[in-house]
Amino acid sequence: MEKSFKITTSEGLHARPATLLVSSVSPFTASVELLYNNKSVNLKSIMGVMAQAIPVGALVTISANGADAEELISKVTEVIISQGLGEEC
């Protein structure tokens, strides 16, 4: 399953927001990808997410695959909203 977000955190997905995202999905067994600009990276990799250099205003899609994919998506959505990283779209 997948969900799209618009990034609203002012400096984009630099170290802190990337770390918050990665640590929110790491406990799940499902595989999870972050798609931005037609390029997909493992959302469990801090370096992978940071290397995407996702700026404020960017549209990203998070897609998860596996037994706990649904819980993962709901957790990552909660973190994105509560930490002010982005909004659902």
Binding site: H14, R16, L20, I46, A53
Partner: protein, 166 residues
């Protein structure tokens, strides 16, 4: 051949900059101090520039030039984050000498830093050196107080499975 491979599986991480070596929990930012990003150490820089802590490839060089990511041949990924909240400096105070994809050697100059500018404009110049994929690795920390760029070994990284057999 295999014994050679095994010998090389311990990766020494050298100091990227001259300064006082501190444990990560001394960094006043929970992303680093709570090891959310991974395990590692920090250096409070005295002077000098940022040099390569390992041999590897540059896998992260943001436009803001305030951090650099390097991957070693064994897959270990190291992030050097120069100062805190330095993303907001938008590249000012930094001058990069490498780009994404470059192969680098231990001690090679990576980023020139204007510490005077950073001290004035950043929250702190403390520089965390983090193994971002440390969860499947074992890190052995060296008990040292002062690091010299490209000369002092800060820590040694080995894969989790190797330690079990020792």
């Amino acid at each position: 051949m295999f014994s050679n491979l095994f010998k090389k599986r311990k990766l020494q991480i050298f100091a990227p900059v001259n300064g006082e070596v501190l444990s990560l929990d001394k960094v006043p930012d929970p992303v680093f101090s709570e090891k959310m990003m991974g395990d590692g150490v920090a250096i409070m820089p005295d002077e000098g520039n940022i040099h390569a802590p390992i041999e590897g490839t540059v896998i992260l060089m943001p436009d803001t030039k305030h951090a650099i990511g390097i991957r070693s041949k064994d897959g270990t990924e190291i992030l050097i984050h120069i100062g805190l909240e330095t993303v907001s400096l938008k590249g000012n105070g930094f001058n990069t000498h490498v780009t994404m994809g470059d192969s680098i050697a231990i001690g090679q100059l990576l980023i020139e830093v204007d510490w005077t500018y950073l001290k004035e404009h950043a929250e702190s110049i403390i520089t965390p050196i983090v193994i971002t994929n440390s969860s499947d690795r074992v890190i052995q920390f060296e008990n040292i107080k002062q690091g010299f760029a490209g000369e002092t070994v800060l820590m040694t990284v080995s894969p989790l499975s190797r330690i079990n057999g020792q």
